[in-house]
Symmetry: C2
Subunit: 344 residues, 2 copies
């Protein structure tokens, strides 16, 4: 059987953390997020009562869906002590392809064309030129360092479907002006392709002492616009901004490499992060696709939800946890918290 | 593109109703319920404020998942005025099979074997002998009236996968002792098979003036046990109980044919319905897989959720709708409401 959610942090993250953050990862595009696989929970409430939500059936409409309310609640509603997960049959085959493009716009068109052709890849990942160069400097993988964007496509399912779909993806990439199109012929070659993607985070971490990792998410048709806005934010604030992420579902990871000892630069980074949130919301997207709110994004909750929307969330928090003993300070902005604050 | 939820009532139900009941149907097995396809809502709150939840991105972890809290809330939290749905690529091919078995237990084993073989059918429906006979009496479809159970299996996806999987399903059914195994060769033959399933509800409606339709759901491995318990309930209360439903996900539809003018029989039916709820919960299942709670099942909420679990739901209702103006009387039991009440 198969448990699809695959956060890129799976070597360090735990299932408890995955549930309370509603983690995702590359496979979210085809298979959905952690939420889709949690069908029951045991929770200790702020009152110290033990409750069970959902159960062992996939269908359950007995009152409100408390399971999915708790998934992604960042520990603010209670302590999860048991999790019931749903598994699905494991796909029989998969194929992985790497394609690179001379411009980000071309890669965006290839992604849109693939998704509108009736193919739903298991993963559709994007790395910008800064990421490609960072990986090659860190651990050479033979990536095309001159290209503006690199796309990794994985399809899975029945062997015949997989053969056909990966061929179609290759044809579409070539039509959209790809300079490289390479399909892994062996599991070893497949792992080589994924290694390049998984090295992005360690590689960019080496570029500077402090890494600020965001996950602003936009409707996938708006990815080219979001990439342009990120480019403008990079220039405006003169910061080291690299972009990679789950392009198939619009979940980008703009990362800023900085140094928290450089107070002047950190102020610029704070403003830039705020502007990234504003750009995502302006394009019909969200502050966070999979990382959650925590304290950093809390000041921007009202921007996305509006005063009334945030109030309806706060009503739930107060009704469940009137003494605010469950992970206080998370999700909801404190008094006077109006902008990103990276420095103490 | 493809919107998978297909409530059997789709010829009369509306998308608004589907959202507030979290409707499902045969395709829930492979594709999940309505909830999985709703990514954003506009809601008028009980305070008369307009809020937007979720949005146009599939991934969104900006605070609590209000979208999925509202889906299935039976109108008790506000008025939905806009719905953003997600579509997926349409499967390229599908195949439909009808198999019948001399005993319900054998059909249960066939279902379990298919699902554990790595095949995830788009639909896996069950009809008991009473349903088979009711359909044949209403509108003859050439169904095997001597058999105890009829199973309808539909697989969809890539043409090669579909061919292979339907052949495997046929082989498994034969191994488990099926007396009939028939695959539709044309779209017309496919519609003939589905017609038999869709006629169940009108056919049994003709069997008596009053039809009480339930949807108690159990983990799918417990279906044979649930069928036995239903058989015992039928005998104990001497009622006309027929069973059909979405066997693949454990979502059965026990229907009682009765006459509301027969007070004595209706009392027995009330007790039988209560015992069906108790049986589902005892087997690790739920009061309702897709019909919702309304007023009929409200007295049994505490049986499934416990006092503390029901209290946590009621806290949300009170926090959002302190004046109880949104569909009052639904989901939450009123004072002294302790058992099923079918008569005024």
């Amino acid at each position: 059987m198969f448990y699809p959610p695959d956060p890129s942090s799976s070597h360090v993250s735990t299932i408890g953390g995955n549930i309370l953050e509603n983690s995702s990862g590359p496979k979210g595009l085809k298979y959905g997020t952690t939420k889709e696989y949690v069908i029951g929970l045991e929770l200790v409430t702020p009152q110290g009562e033990i409750i069970r939500t959902g159960g062992k059936t996939v269908k359950n409409v007995t009152g409100y869906d408390l399971t999915r309310l708790i998934v992604g609640s960042e520990g603010t509603l209670g302590v999860v002590t048991e999790i019931i997960l749903r598994l699905i049959p494991k796909p029989k085959a998969r194929k992985t392809m790497l394609a690179s493009f001379p411009s980000v716009v071309q890669s965006g068109h290839a992604i849109t064309k693939i998704l509108s052709s009736g193919i739903l890849p298991a993963a559709l990942e994007l790395m910008d030129n800064a990421c490609i160069r960072a990986v090659e400097a860190y651990q050479p993988c033979g990536l095309p360092v001159e290209d503006a964007a690199l796309v990794i496509i994985e399809v899975d399912g029945h062997p015949a479907a997989v053969e056909e779909e990966i061929a179609d993806c290759g044809r579409i990439c070539a039509e959209m002006g790809a300079t490289t199109v390479r399909t892994a012929r062996t599991e070893g070659e497949r792992q080589e392709i994924w290694k390049a993607r998984k090295l992005v985070s360690p590689a960019i971490t080496r570029m500077g002492p402090t890494k600020i990792s965001e996950d602003a998410t936009v409707p996938r048709s708006r990815i080219p616009e979001m990439m342009e806005r990120l480019e403008r934010i990079r220039a405006k604030y003169n910061i080291n901004l690299v972009v990679f992420g789950h392009a198939g579902d619009g979940n980008l990871h703009p990362n800023i490499i900085t140094d928290k000892r450089n107070i002047e630069e950190m102020r610029r980074v704070e403003d830039a992060v705020g502007e990234i949130f504003e750009a995502a919301v302006a394009l019909g997207g969200t502050l966070s696709g999979e990382h959650g709110i925590g304290t950093l994004k809390a000041p921007y909750m009202e921007l996305e939800l509006g005063k009334a929307g945030l109030d309806m969330m706060a009503r739930i928090k107060r009704a469940w946890d009137p003494n605010n003993i469950m992970n206080p300070g998370k999700i909801f902005p404190g008094p006077g918290q109006t902008k990103v604050k990276l420095l103490p």
